[in-house]
Amino acid sequence: MSQLATLAEHIINGKAPLALKATEEAIAAGTPAADILQKGLIAGMQVVGERFRNNEFYVPEVLIAARAMKMSLEKLRPHLIDQHVEPVGKVAIGTCRGDLHDIGKNLVAMMLEGAGFEVMDLGIDVGPEKFVDAVKDGAQIVALSALLTTTMPAMRDTIQALKDAGLRDKVKVIIGGAPVTQDFADDIGADAYGRDAATGADKARELLSA
């Protein structure tokens, strides 16, 4: 198995210390940072995402794999900057106003990172104005999460706020969360709906290539 395939395998298995070691070895061997990212970290997280989507992986495995990915990414980041490797895109993510259930949102954020995005995590209970500010700061995608039917209307408010600020055509909006549906996404004028964290990351990639 190639060095980067091994790295990907360690990410999939959530073996953080081994993944970190493999990353360090690849850097020391002079492997381009872009390759380590693409063929190691992103490749690994892609498998994690697929397995999650197929119900072969559960939330703990994704979180543990993402933890391994994050530790390796921290090690890799200075090299990515030195070697001018640009992120795939910039996403602002948060649970919408009134909602602080963030496990789902965190999963999506990790899958996005694992797909090569720069993620601006705005946290929980995020008001529309904060998303507007994030778009002004260069976010190309706004990702909104709600776990409660009672907080879903806040998604509509956020889209309205983006319109009011004259930013709606500069940004794509993707939404998700247990009670959210494609119908609801269509109804409030979101650009995409992610059924689960892995699909969300895929859809985000599609939005930028469209």
Partner: protein, 610 residues
């Protein structure tokens, strides 16, 4: 503030100069009988006192007569004017009752809110002033503020016959029933714990405080989702959602009552009071209160104070003249179940210790006590430790594997020594810990396949590993039909979610309070486990911090014990209300610290970087 020396109890207590001795003594755990409610009319709260006191009142002279000269007083009439010493005769004390269940133990004064007393109706004399009700009240030795409603007055007007003996039933200060004495009639109460997953009813004889029967059942609401979030979503987004959920829990509760009474010849109409604990969402749904505010920051409950409700208003078929008491809640996600667990664990008393109470249910509530300071928070554990959402999980009951140990092969203990049917919470903790110890489970929570374990693990244990489509499963036993009872990879994931939520909650709470795990004098674990939660295994899994095991105590279903205490001792309700009012509540879910720790706490053993 003066000092009162209670010679008979060998204690000294502070006494203010504007409160009766009766109240001061009660406040410090010395409960005296006072059916008149401290009015100075019954003469029951007598004590012997020396020292600087107000002179005896007319009431005392009338009721005590010559005894006044021997230092006897009525404590309700005594106001200290200096330091004093008192002796309390046993006849003046409220009889004490010991509540013991699953490790929680507390002695409390036996004084239920529901009381039944007998009296014999006699021919009224010319100087019997007042109404017939007044005379009944006097014969019942009832407190001065006794009241009666019109329907009962109408009954009374037809019932009373000279020379006949009657039973009067009093709830609080209401006379609710006067009937000819029937030796077979009972006065029962129920301690009811409405959990998200499990409902437990414990029927108590309110004349003795003794247990009549217990029953538990899966909450029918689980049909609408496993956690409170899905219930709130259902109640607020479906047209008839709230009604459906209320009906579901009512059906479950009535079923529990029937089961608990099954072995006695008593009926639902013998139940006069129900003392209810449960999380805030469960109490809202039980009471038919629309829970929308619980689904939105800041998750404020619609009501959090204790409530007294007529049973028919809730759709219960218990005695319609009875009462349903809902214990107070603390916050949207720290409910009356926590308040119940706190009184069961004596968190209303400051012992100078630093203590942590973890009530582990589908939602896990945590309370930290440091001196007089109390802080509470909650963390979403999921139902894994109640045996729910596990492939072969079940409640602790006959046929449940409650203990697992590894030797060359597995050694099981099954509740009721029956053929195993499934595995309950304590068994779940054991099997996960043993698998990790044996090296079958790695630090990320993956069950290794048998091929990787040859030579490391005994052949008998290896033979129990089955490759499944979604990972490896471990066979614990076979059931009556010869089918395997498996502990699956998915089960491990459920446990990881649960234990990570609990542990990261504990660490975050300690952090906020500035307490180190090592400073904890005591960790009390409450919950619906079987009776044999293995502390060492719980610690190995990382559910609780790494502290010496002798500081860890398992207190069983403490919330239910709390409900029972509130049933047999009115004083406990007062204390519960005070606790709920004074405790500080913090929101930890969603904070960056909690999020960071949550993933770390998923890991087992050395992988733990907290």
């Amino acid at each position: 503030m003066y000092r009162v020396r209670v010679a008979s109890d060998d204690k000294e207590i502070p006494a203010p100069d504007d409160v009766s001795l009766l109240d001061t003594l009660a406040k410090h755990g010395v409960a005296l009988t006072s059916p008149c409610g401290g009015e100075g009319t019954c003469g029951k709260c007598r004590i012997q006192a020396t020292g600087d006191l107000n002179p005896p009142t007319i009431a005392e002279r009338t009721l005590l007569g010559d005894l006044v000269r021997h230092g006897f007083r009525l404590s309700c009439q005594c106001i200290p004017q200096g330091d004093i010493a008192v002796t309390i005769p046993d006849s003046s004390r409220v009889p004490s009752i010991r509540i013991l269940a699953g490790g929680a133990r507390r002695d409390v004064p036996f004084f239920p809110n529901v009381r039944r007393r007998s009296f014999t109706w006699k021919k009224l004399e010319l100087d019997d002033t007042g109404s017939q009700f007044d005379v009944v009240a006097r014969l019942l030795n009832a407190r001065a503020d006794l009241v009666i409603d019109l329907p009962e007055v109408r009954e009374l007007s037809r019932t009373l016959k000279e020379g006949q003996t009657y039973d009067g039933t009093i709830i609080g200060n209401r006379l609710v029933e006067v009937e000819p004495t029937d030796p077979d009639a009972s006065v029962f109460g129920v301690a009811l714990d409405i959990g998200t997953t499990t409902v437990v009813a414990h029927v108590i004889d309110l004349r003795t405080g003794e247990s009549v029967g217990t029953a538990s059942a899966l909450n029918d609401q689980t049909h609408y989702g496993g956690d409170v979030i899905s219930r709130i979503n259902h109640a607020t987004s479906m047209d008839n959602g709230l009604q459906e959920l209320q009906d579901a829990v009512l059906t479950t509760v009535n079923r529990c009552f029937d089961m608990a009474l099954e072995r006695s010849d008593k009926s639902l109409s013998d139940i006069y009071e129900i003392s209810v604990v449960g999380n805030t969402t469960m109490l809202h749904l039980f009471a038919g209160v629309y829970p929308r505010s619980l689904g939105q920051l800041p998750y404020s409950p619609v009501f959090s104070h204790g409530l007294d409700v007529p049973p028919n208003l809730l759709g219960l078929d218990t005695n319609p003249r009875g009462n349903v008491h809902l214990l107070p809640s603390i916050a949207g996600y720290v409910g009356a179940d926590t308040v119940g667990a706190m009184i069961a664990a004596s968190f209303d008393e400051d012992t100078g210790k630093t203590r942590l109470l973890a009530d582990i249910g589908t939602n896990c509530e945590l309370v930290l006590q440091r001196g007089g300071e109390l802080i509470a928070c909650s963390t979403p554990a999921g139902p894994a430790f109640e045996g729910a959402r596990m492939d072969y999980g079940m409640m602790a009951g006959p046929g449940a594997i409650e203990r697992v140990e590894f030797g060359e092969d597995v050694v099981l203990r099954v509740i009721g020594d029956a053929t195993p049917i499934g595995i309950c919470g304590s068994g779940v903790v054991d099997i996960a810990a043993e698998l990790y110890r044996a090296g079958i489970l790695d630090e990320t929570g993956r069950i290794q396949s048998a091929d990787d374990l040859v030579g490391i693990v005994s052949p008998l244990l290896c033979g129990r590993l089955h490759e499944q489509e979604k990972g490896t499963a471990f066979e614990l036993a076979t059931n009556d039909d010869g089918e395997p009872i498996l502990f699956t990879q998915k089960d491990v994931r459920e446990i990881q979610l649960a234990k990570a939520a609990i542990r990261s909650g504990i660490e975050t709470l300690l952090d906020v309070a500035g307490v180190k795990a090592d400073d904890l004098n005591e960790v009390l674990i409450a919950g619906g486990f079987g009776n044999y939660l293995n502390k060492e295994n719980a610690r190995l899994l990382g559910m609780i911090p790494d502290i010496p095991l002798e500081r860890v105590r398992f207190v069983g279903n403490a919330a239910l014990v709390g409900a029972r205490l509130a049933l047999v001792s009115y004083d406990m309700r007062t204390r519960a209300a005070k606790l709920a009012h004074t405790i500080r509540h913090i929101q930890i879910a969603g904070t960056p610290n909690f999020r960071m720790r949550f993933t770390e706490a998923m890991l087992f053993g050395d992988g733990f970087l907290m």
